[in-house]
Symmetry: C2
């Protein structure tokens, strides 16, 4: 019997609600497999800051350090609430970025996937979606502007200024490229390399290293796209893409655009993988405006469980069952509020009902 | 009789073709107004580099310096062609960025506009477009990563690295904010401030200055959006936006996403305005793959003429006539190849035919 420890960081806003549904699914998986999951809940984000004065408290660090995998809900406060707490303890700077840094989770996988049968969820016309969108963004997650030095002050003209640095070295680029090429090898053997080499020198190095790594994967076709052109193409012709690789900030923006073309950020799970530890999280924020209303979409959180099953516990078949179950619930004509448009013929269900229906299908 | 000197930089790829149509329109405007336009053609971009060894040669600088306004076509080479010339003479680094720097064109206005009657051009469903998309992106154009210091080398681990800086001072932010608030005051009195303050300290300063400037425009409602959330929202609900303000790189990406939601980058003209000089250009690249085929969409270039008429020559009424004429051609069921989908009932016309039809309508 396998035994896995999972740190469960429910997070802020809608985090606890959607985590609750994800754990229901995990329970089913546990019951029918030769595996036990030891859940270790811990406080993380704004909730942790309000409880302990620290957004990523030592007790949570200890739990994460011991865990075989970390399941993390969304974190964050509204724009106005965030202003009330010190900037470096705001949940992103105080918890999320330190987590990424601590576990060096450089490889962020963000599937942007919508079968043809669910094209009605998308704001895009059915002919744009064709046989379905099925791409995956591979985002470098621990470099670039996110982790560069930041200098604030008053310059010699007496003006307040901020200077921050975007830095990459070849090794940081090489390891994410290997992840992307490996994934492309297992899929359609097509890799879109997203960059801005006509302006950024970091993209020039990025492309150089990409070309070096490409030699090791001769069967993968590389297509180069400027990041701005990629933003156009994601709207006009998303089905041309299979695997897309890009640096941290570009990945932040384009993956949220991905949520846009699917119809909701609620459809965006993700895996953040480092050399020794991985954590799994929705790509979206904590949606404080709808928190506690039992209307959030738990797909991204349950999907993050599926990614955990596959990546951390080698349970690819069960991961697939989870995806299929969720698609099946949608296929039966149900969906959560984010995806229910008046007149679309879809029956709106709550966060809990969605979780229950997934469990039934499993 | 007014007399204006216009530097005409046709640029690379499709540049000459679409410039040709723009000049036809300008001729009509000249003929029926008390104005003469002195056209001063000059070479700029890759074409200039191949002719003179310099992408922004002194002769062109002299012409631009004298001009009352600059009309600039797209520039650039294909990814593979660009590799053959020295990186600092590539058209973006060798011509476009130096132009922006020289004339300090900090305020870039990029309309993203599609009336309901042309919703069929968009990849978005008609219900998303509702009564039409009509927003304008105000992009800071001479700061941030684009103009920061760039350092390349080998670090103490023997690894190649690149470090570049993103810098803004309060004055750079204040002046673009004034542009955005002034524009919002004249329109729907709604300003979306796009930032990434949960990660970037430059966005923290950006937002501070925004709040200071906002006090001078009490009738403008400000809505804050994280850049990633804005990328989602531009797909899901673009009609909520009227004026959006953002820093340089964010503006690059989101404005091209804007071209995506309209249906083509060919619908994206722009104005780049500095304290003493303005230039006007399509937001898109030079599309080398379709150059010389008489199929490019000249809308972005003719629209740039309209923006020039309004901003540089105080001819707002004629600018409106140009917009109306272009919409009229589309309204009659014609469009260029980029917007003609099989079965859409649209009649495809060439670059030249589009220009001729606009002239007829005028
Ligand atoms: C919350 C924020 C810091 C984070 C990011 O920018 O990486 C989020 O937007 C994401 O994409 O995971
Ligand atoms: C050509 C390139 C340097 C330019 C930019 O990034 O600003 C273009 O994409 C634009 O948006 O005007």
């Amino acid at each position: 019997m396998k035994h896995y420890k999972i740190a469960v960081l429910a997070g802020d806003g809608i985090g606890p609600e959607i985590t609750h549904e994800a754990l229901k699914v995990l329970k089913v998986i546990e019951e029918r497999n030769d595996v036990t999951f030891e859940l270790m809940p811990a406080s993380f984000g704004a909730c942790a800051y309000f409880e302990t004065g620290d957004a990523f408290p030592q007790a949570t660090i200890d739990i994460c350090d011991q865990a075989d995998a970390i399941l993390k809900g969304p974190i964050g406060l509204s724009h106005e609430e965030a202003k009330k707490i010190p900037i470096d303890q705001q949940p992103e700077r105080g918890a999320l970025l330190p987590m990424r840094r601590r576990y060096n989770t450089y490889a962020n996988f963000r599937p942007v996937s919508l079968p043809k049968s669910l094209a009605h969820f998308s704001p895009l016309k059915p002919e744009i979606i064709g046989e379905g969108i099925d791409l995956i963004i591979v985002r470098e997650l621990v470099g670039g502007l996110y982790f560069g030095e930041k200098e604030m002050g008053v310059n010699d003209k007496g003006l307040r200024y901020v200077r921050e640095t975007l830095e990459y070295d070849e090794e940081q680029i090489r390891r994410i490229m290997h992840e992307a090429f490996k994934l492309a090898s297992k899929r359609r053997k097509l890799l879109h390399n997203i960059h801005k080499s006509n302006v950024l020198k970091s993209s020039v190095l990025w492309n150089e290293v990409m070309e070096e790594v490409a030699k090791e994967y001769p069967d993968v076709k590389v297509v180069n796209f400027l990041v701005d052109a990629a933003a156009t193409a994601l709207c006009l012709n998303p089905i041309q893409f299979d695997v897309m690789v890009m640096e941290n900030m570009f990945g932040d923006i384009l993956s949220d655009q991905g949520g846009g073309i699917l119809g909701s950020l609620g459809l965006m799970p993700s895996a953040c993988i480092g050399p020794d530890k991985a954590y799994y999280e929705p790509s979206h924020g904590s949606a404080p405006d709808i928190a506690g209303k039992n209307i959030a979409n738990p797909y991204s959180m349950i999907g993050s469980v599926a990614m955990m099953l596959e990546n951390s516990f080698d349970m690819a078949a069960e991961a697939k069952n989870v995806w299929d179950a969720m698609q099946g619930v949608f296929g039966d004509g149900y969906s959560t509020a984010d995806l229910s448009k008046p007149g679309s013929g879809v029956t709106m269900i709550s966060t809990e009902q969605f979780g229950d229906k997934v469990v039934e299908k499993l």
